[in-house]
């Protein structure tokens, strides 16, 4: 051993959860209302917006990383924040990666409702927040699919978080960037340990969400 012990796996796993959790929460908080609104409002330019969202679902994460880096760079438009190489930068990148997924899948879930859904809900005398709740209730399986897809997208992502986070030990190292680094260093045991944790985490979270989704069937 060269004496390089490195950060404990648990700390990296917890940081990963915190960063990706925050990104997921933000992406869902912004993306679901956006998708619901986009799904049932008709306005000029809607088609273009929907096409943009769908294209965004395939947005290469490295490109997102580049754009966020450009924005947060000292001389960039958001340079004064001093967020480059911080967890905040990683959250921003992950939100941008997850948002099109959340909006796109939410949109599809709303599109699967009957065309006169809103009219019928109104005819039943359900208005305002209750009507919104009914909409969420009727699309909940699709919404959970959006959350699962977003979670998978951001947990597995390495390019953007490395570019804007910098993989700094004790600060911005997450499971994926750690795996990348330890593999390049030839420390396969540590890389494998991180990979096992990442896979376990992904599986447990996806399984939990799937259980919720299936339970909501009736």
């Amino acid at each position: 051993m060269s004496g390089v012990v490195g950060e404990p796996v648990l700390a990296i796993a917890l940081r990963t959860l915190a960063v990706s959790g925050a990104a997921l929460a933000l992406a869902v908080a912004i993306g679901v209302p956006l998708g619901l609104a986009l799904g049932h409002r008709r306005f000029p330019g809607r088609g273009l917006l929907v096409a943009t969202v769908n294209a965004g679902m395939g947005l290469p994460p490295v490109v997102v990383g580049l754009l966020v880096a450009l924005a947060l760079w000292r001389s960039g438009p958001l340079g004064t924040l001093g967020w480059m190489y911080t967890p905040q930068a990683m959250v921003i990148a992950q939100v941008l990666i997850a948002l099109p997924l959340v909006v796109g899948i939410t949109l599809a879930a709303v599109g699967a409702l009957p065309a006169d859904f809103h009219l019928q809900v109104r005819a039943l005398g359900v208005r305002g927040p209750r009507a919104a709740w009914l909409l969420v209730r009727e699309t909940r399986r699709g919404l959970l699919a959006a959350v699962i897809a977003a979670l998978g997208g951001i947990l597995s992502e390495v390019g953007a978080v490395t570019m804007v986070g910098g993989n700094l030990e004790g600060e911005t190292r997450v499971l994926t960037s750690g795996i990348l680094m330890y593999t390049q260093m030839g420390r396969f045991e540590t890389a494998l340990a991180l990979a096992a944790v990442l896979l376990g985490l992904t599986f447990v979270l996806a399984a939990a969400l799937t259980a919720v989704q299936q339970a909501s069937r009736r």
Binding site: P114, D116, F117, L119, Q120, V121, R122, A123, L124, G125, V126, R127, R130, A131, L134, R137, E138, R140, S216, R218
Partner: protein, 355 residues
């Protein structure tokens, strides 16, 4: 509004969506009255659903007004009712939930509404597993759960078989009688309209073609289009030849084919002559004073309940209906020579506008 009207359209003008190809609905005056069923009849695309949605306040009119005197609200059952995820009971409760009514009260009233339409036993079933007839019953129970003053139904019996339709009509008639609700039923099918209707409104191409008591509309359609919709199958061009002292006119339909009718039209007027099939009588012993003379049976078909026969009378084809299974309904066959009779008061005469 008159005292018994709970919902009325006044000088209503609706243009549903600019994309709908410039379709315009015009209804000068239409009122729904307590305890009365109005059937709104018309071909596809006539504007029936648009009218119903405007009456329910779901579409804002471009001009005119909908006057509402319904403290308990207006319920609209769509042609394809929305069933929400969850069980039957929850679906029936939704309108009460939307009005912020407490859970216990909701459950109680939903149970009563489901029982009214005979599906209380299905309360715990997943609503998406219901048959077409059960789903219809759930939609009606859900409409009645708020005890509305007005019930608007869009093609309520459309996808039911004959037995299911009959059973549902009975339950619905009972519910209407007990609650004294004002009802409008939209349908393209005359027989469905007649099941419950006290009055009939006929819509054609976005315009109110006729509005009147059920028998008035059936016997005195205001136009050829209405006549076709309300089943006045014998609709023939003719001309008023002369008038007699009793106030009856002689109308010629074809050479040697003349009818005595009650009409105010002057001699020489071109007219439409309409006779309902059930008013063309086969005069077995040639004793009817309103006889039209000899004729012959051209074709005869029967669905087991009704016999439909086409009679050749001076090269004109007249349609008549008989009850199947007894008397003439059993014995009449194609090729038979018969005498036919029509009472002057059963002949509807309408001036034929010059082209």
């Amino acid at each position: 509004m008159t005292s018994d009207a709970v919902l009325a359209a006044r000088e209503l003008l609706v243009r549903p969506g600019a994309r709908a190809g410039g379709f315009t609905l015009r209804v000068p005056d239409l009122a729904l009255r307590r305890g009365e069923v109005l059937a709104i009849l018309g071909p596809n695309g006539a504007g029936k659903t648009t009218l119903l949605r405007a009456l329910a306040g779901l579409i804002a009119p471009s001009a005119g007004a909908i006057e509402v005197r319904a403290p308990h609200g207006v319920a609209l059952v769509f042609q394809h009712p929305l069933l929400l995820a969850g069980n039957v009971a929850w679906n029936a409760e939704v309108p009460l939930w939307g009005r912020g009514i407490a859970r216990r009260k909701r459950q109680e009233r939903a149970r009563a509404a489901l029982a009214r339409f005979g599906i209380a036993a299905l309360a715990e079933r997943d609503a998406t597993t219901l048959s077409g007839g059960e789903a219809r019953r759930l939609a009606l129970a859900r409409a009645f759960v708020v005890a509305p003053d007005v019930l608007l139904l869009d093609e309520p019996f459309d996808d039911l078989d004959a037995a299911g339709r009959e059973a549902l009509v009975q339950d619905l008639a009972g519910a209407i009688r007990e609650t004294e609700i004002a009802v409008a039923i939209v349908t393209h099918d005359l027989r469905q309209a007649l099941l419950l209707a006290d009055r009939i409104a006929v819509l054609d191409a976005g315009a109110l073609a006729q509005l009147g008591a059920r028998d008035e509309v059936l016997r005195r359609p205001a136009s050829a289009e209405v006549a076709a919709l309300v089943g006045m199958a014998n609709w023939l061009p003719g001309r008023v030849r002369s008038r007699d002292a009793a106030g009856l006119a002689l109308v010629e339909l074809a050479p040697a084919a003349t009818l005595r009718v009650a009409t105010a039209c002057a001699a020489g007027t071109d007219v439409w002559v309409g006779i309902r099939p059930e008013h063309v009588k086969i005069d077995v012993d040639h004793s009817d004073p309103n006889t039209l003379g000899p004729a012959s049976v051209e074709t005869r078909v029967s669905d087991g309940a009704l016999v439909v026969a086409w009679i050749d009378w001076h090269a004109l084809r007249l349609r008549t209906h008989l009850l199947a299974g007894r008397g003439l309904g059993q014995t009449l066959k194609a090729g038979d020579g018969v005498f036919i009779a029509v009472r002057p008061e059963d002949v509807h005469v309408l001036p034929r506008d010059p082209r």
